[in-house]
Symmetry: C4
Subunit: 201 residues, 4 copies
């Protein structure tokens, strides 16, 4: 039951966060110029929406794949999971801020906004890594008992964290580079990512 | 468990999206003219709300009927389901934009807004079709093993997609035609639609 | 599984609707007069929030008590349940509109807004009655097979509908009478209401 | 099933409330001064977000730990749980009001806003205590049959309530003292709090 409620609560948070993202699609509406012009100006926000949607989607898929393998959870994991969700819940904010400044902010503010997006992603990745690490060292994952298997699982996940660190630095060179890196990362994980090898369930 | 969480997450997204729709009912409030006048002007938004509510409702019922038949899911379905949800989550945006421009936008913008609504529906239909198709070709649906049964299931669903394509074209003739078509489609599916024949569970 | 997803989806809608209600608590904030004055002016909205919170709570408890007794559901119930949720989802709108006009609208508009609240409640009650009725006539409720037991179950529930009809008429005499009636009804159902007699589970 | 739906509904409310909190992170955006300045001015709101996030998180963990131990629930607990959720749902409002007045309100209004936050927490704590108390006196918790064990469980929880009462009084001395106390309380409960002693599940 414990695990079930952790999953139910997390699913709820993921679901609300991913749906709130869509508020980024909203435009000013009648009286603010031709609709097609408004939509054109709004393309960065749409791109940011797409990237964040699939990023949250990937986190959810990995969250689900990870907890699927845990026969049990403890109180520590409940709070590490909260830490992960703290950053998940901040993604709609990071997305709308980045989108707003890419659309109409000065370049230096757009850089900062794009970097903040990266920092939220780094926080989220670290939160996930802590959950994964605690599950591994507590021996909660039956199929990952050797030190090597544990290391592999963490390394595969940690790579994403490094990309987010790099992107949030490159944002200060050009925020659009960061946006592209965020998009490529999400796409990469959609196409192929398994935090721990397993048969399809 | 895998399937359970896919359903829980999807139910959460459907629930949030369908509840956010109701924000379309909001009016400007005191100081913006007599309430009855405000409500009268707001009727297109109310109609759009009703249509989108039952459209999301129908998708949810079909989603549920489809996954009810799947003994298992795989990673591909998780991501195809995300693609479907990407469009579900965009429905409140498409609804409010269409409503705003039907209420007070110039005719050409109302046409575009009504067409966008149709495109979101087309995307949603295609997302659903991809989930259905993958389930069928992977042999996940025990009762649909013949090529003919598979074809029938997809054809029945694909018909709706064509209506949405047609409506989003006709929107440029007159956006109200599109609105009526969206409403008729939702009503039709409410009254009778079963993606795959099955006994009541 | 069918019933489980109907309940999960409904719980999600109830949860989002009841949480959105709390947006009614929001005040204008710094720069709009002393906080204590703002809060004082906002008391009708707080009262409306309390009433709607417990009204949705009561619906949820009854929804749960009803479906708890159903060994199965059919497609008709899925759609009747959607009809019920259509009105549940409109409650935050009806609440904020009534609160706004009780706070600062002209008396005639406050009357209309309070009546609209009642109409939404009538719609919600009728939706619930239709679900209950379909469950009864389909023989889904094992303990309610006699015509008399069925009648009693419906009568007990229908009484609330009549109160809402009366309140939405009396709103045109004085909207505050309607508000009090809505509050008394919620309180009454909180203190004692069981749509069908049953042992505590 | 009864208990399952209480948990599902509560999880939904917790999930929506905790995600709505993140709306506090939003800033005014382009055209309202340099982003870094806006973010700096917004630090009280970020602190309030963090505190409320973990406060709701702690309530959720305790809610889950408590109901995990209940073999059954009754109608009274359903409504006491609603009372608890009434205050949970008010936390985003209390958070944003406190944050807004700490950021730019006069000192006296900031004091009131910080006190209101404390009152919501007191209400929430009392709601939780009532649920716990009813579960204890009804004998729903197998491992807590002695009067002493029951008293210990309630005392451990009641301590938090007293801190909230104290903080909402001290808010009138200086609202930042209250903010710090709210943060320390959340941190304390994150690091160590078990409403009833139990083996990890």
């Amino acid at each position: 039951v414990t695990k079930g409620r952790l999953e139910a609560f997390s699913d709820g948070v993921f679901a609300v966060a991913i749906t709130l993202l869509a508020l980024n699609l909203a435009i000013a509406g009648p009286g603010h110029g031709a609709l097609v012009v408004q939509l054109g100006r709004h393309l960065p926000a749409d791109a940011a929406y797409l990237i964040s949607f699939f990023t949250i989607g990937v986190i959810w898929v990995n969250h689900h794949a990870l907890f699927d393998q845990l026969p049990q959870v403890d109180r520590v994991i409940l709070f590490l999971n909260l830490l992960l969700l703290l950053f998940v819940v901040a993604i709609p904010f990071a997305t709308s801020t980045m989108a707003a400044y890419l659309e109409s902010g000065p370049q230096s503010d757009a850089a900062l906004a794009a970097a903040i997006y990266g920092w939220v992603m780094v926080g989220m990745s670290l939160g996930f890594s802590l959950v994964l690490r605690h599950a591994l060292v507590s021996g909660f994952i039956p199929g990952a008992t050797t030190a090597r298997a544990r290391w592999a699982a963490q390394a595969r996940f940690g790579a994403g964290t490094l990309v987010y660190v790099a992107a949030s630095v490159l944002a200060f060179v050009n925020p659009w580079i960061a946006l592209v890196l965020y998009g490529v990362t999400a796409l990469y994980y959609v196409l192929r990512q398994t935090p721990l090898r397993r048969a399809p369930s």
